[in-house]
Symmetry: C2
Subunit: 186 residues, 2 copies
């Protein structure tokens, strides 16, 4: 029995870094293989196709965000402002951990309208993200409709900030966006 050099989870983790840096179409199986220390053919023992790999990766990101970040919005031991601050702090780490910006935003712009395979999970991520912010704004006393608009606005501004941060290499733009999101609680 051959030894297992790498687990499926480790492949997914390494692949995120490559995809967020190079994009979906511009990343080859060869690129992923090199990042994982595998022969490119070996990938097909773990995943049916490049598309299936990307889809599983996005589902994993969805789970991570839901469990580790969005869940903070529903933690009853925290005040609204603390919730928002903690969420944004963790989101900042998620975005800045490696170069390349936001894998969710990048993949959305690159594939939505083309690959119906990715759309459900991408929509789910943004919907849960918006819902989490909405919940906090409601808890802070905003009417439901207002809370929704503020939440949508926050997420749009963050994704736009990530875009300009990636282009200009200036993280202050994202910090500003974080601060404005917190000010929306008032």
């Amino acid at each position: 029995m051959p030894i297992q050099k790498i687990t499926k989870e480790e492949i997914l983790k390494k692949s995120i870094d490559v995809f967020r840096l190079k994009g979906y179409h511009n990343t080859s199986m060869q690129d992923l293989a090199e990042a994982c220390g595998l022969m490119k053919g070996s990938f097909y023992h773990y995943f049916q196709s490049k598309e299936a790999l990307m889809k599983e990766l996005l589902v994993g990101v969805n789970t991570y965000l839901k469990v580790k970040i969005f869940s903070i919005a529903y933690d009853s031991s925290l005040q609204p402002k603390d919730k928002l601050e903690q969420m944004l702090k963790k989101m900042g780490r998620f975005l800045f951990e490696k170069d390349g910006g936001c894998i969710v935003g990048n993949t959305t712009l690159e594939t939505s309208g083309l690959f119906y395979e990715f759309e459900p999970v991408l929509k789910n991520i943004f919907t849960e993200w918006i819902d989490a912010h909405k919940h906090i704004f409601e808890e802070a006393g905003k009417p439901s409709e207002t809370a929704l608009k503020l939440a949508q606005q926050s997420i749009m501004e963050l994704e736009g900030a990530v875009m300009l941060t990636k282009l200009y290499g200036n993280r202050d733009l994202l910090i500003d966006a974080f601060n404005r999101t917190i000010q929306k609680l008032d």
Copy 2:
């Protein structure tokens, strides 16, 4: 057989539609050729490479935006609010004319950090866009630093709105972002 089927300008115009729909890497010379009614080899009569074609295309977009849209910010016959409304209205037409969202935002997320060839023109577009908004906010009485932040915030929110509009197919998100930009004048 006619000696010229298409002009360089027409090629650029048709290519924008393909690139914004399919993205840069996922668009093949074959795709562009079909959109233009040419053989793919014939493209090299007009452009040195796919990269050179994209760069010229982006420079053309920059010129279009500068002349047709950003210039409104400096039209002395208009009030600040009218300027902003006209700019956003024209930007909306530019974004919704065809499917695929914003060619500038799409290309930024797909190529910045990878292709240094595109970065100068992409940066220039965003800088001129932000400057135009900043100018209007200053004219409306905002201090320079405040005007800059409001301008950056507006552009980030618009690009984020385009992203979610592309994903959800719901243009109301962009309309809301337009309206909030106008409200920032108060």
